[in-house]
């Protein structure tokens, strides 16, 4: 996806939250990326490194937690992943399944210094 705009937004959200808490420096930004979000973390890191240069987020560690796609069957309650490229229940064949995780794309937390 458009990782440049995403990196910009991550810097923005992190700096806004740091300022709200009177922080002077951001040391770490924790991001959760679901398998279904079509986001490439390597590319975000790449853009983040240059976009954060003149901000409080300069040199912050960008940490990604990748969440795999998980589906739950509404019929037999089996929980399964996306390796087979199927959202149909592998146990009972039901199509009444829903996404339990994998669509996430958010900043979970930041770590800051306050001086």
């Amino acid at each position: 996806m458009h990782e440049l705009a995403i990196a910009e937004r991550i810097v923005e959200i992190a700096v806004d939250n740091a300022k709200l808490n009177n922080a002077t420096r951001i040391s770490r930004i924790n991001v959760v990326i679901g398998e279904l979000s079509n986001v490439a973390s390597d590319s975000i890191q790449f853009y983040f490194d240059s976009l954060s240069q003149d901000t409080m987020a300069r040199s912050a560690t960008l940490s990604f937690l990748h969440k795999p796609a998980r589906f739950e069957c509404g019929s037999c309650h089996a929980v399964f992943g996306f390796d087979e490229r199927s959202v149909v229940c592998p146990r009972c064949g039901s199509a009444a399944t829903s996404v339990v995780s994998g669509k996430e794309f958010y900043i979970e937390s930041i770590e800051v210094d306050q001086t």
Binding site: M1, A14, N17, N21, L36, S109
Partner: protein
């Protein structure tokens, strides 16, 4: 010190998409986000649809491309209301672009608004516009492995149109294999096999569209 943030990174887009969605709902408009690779037949589908529904359904179009107004001019020749958005490099339309475009359209005079997205099987799948329905096109020459390569695009579509079936005899496209693959990713979506060139399958597509419109107008 650790600060909890819990902020969706695409929040800004989602909030504007919700505003667009409410605007469509208040005008009882069926807004369709039309997605595919470049050249699969989005504009051709719109031409067929506009011609066949002329006088029955008021159709307007938002054309999205990185550059050029070729598609908007093609649609304008059919006397349908159309605006062109050039993203200037952005790989997909987003909710802000749509919100802007809507300001230049007479929403009271529209039954179905087609948003022809930038040709791309990746980004549009994850960028909501506030649309009512998402429709994607896969064309025969692109090959039958696309559901495996671009799974998210296939899972999130309300309808998948397989276009250019007039070319089946010239290719190794495995229609039943593709149908199985799409069904596994998207058990509830509708699948249509069409040729915008010959008109094959278009009636089934139109029937679906009209039934979705009826639903949108009755909410």
């Amino acid at each position: 010190m650790k600060i909890k943030v819990l902020k969706n990174i695409l929040d800004a887009n989602d909030q504007i998409a919700e505003k667009n969605r409410q605007l469509f709902a208040s005008h009882r408009i069926l807004a369709v986000n039309l997605m595919s690779s470049p050249g699969s037949g989005k504009t051709s589908l719109l031409l067929q649809t506009i011609r066949k529904l002329r006088g029955k359904v008021r159709i307007a179009v938002i054309e999205g491309d990185i550059a050029s107004d070729i598609d908007a001019r093609t649609i304008a020749k059919e006397k349908a209301a159309v605006i062109q958005i050039n993203t200037g490099g952005a790989c997909s339309l987003n909710a802000t672009m749509i919100a802007s475009g809507l300001q230049n359209m007479d929403l009271g005079a529209i039954d179905v608004l087609f948003i022809e997205n930038v040709g791309n099987l990746v980004c549009p799948a994850n960028i909501g516009l506030g649309e009512t329905r998402r429709v994607m096109i896969l064309s025969v020459p692109e090959g039958d492995d696309k559901p495996y390569k671009y799974p998210v695009m296939f899972t999130q579509a309300d309808a998948v149109l397989i276009n250019k079936i007039d070319l089946l005899s010239l290719s190794d496209f495995n229609m039943s294999g593709v149908t199985t693959a799409v069904r596994r990713l998207n058990p509830h979506g509708s699948i249509f096999r069409i040729s915008c060139k010959t008109g094959d399958g278009i009636e089934e597509w139109l029937a679906w569209l009209l039934s979705e419109l009826k639903e949108a107008q009755s909410r």
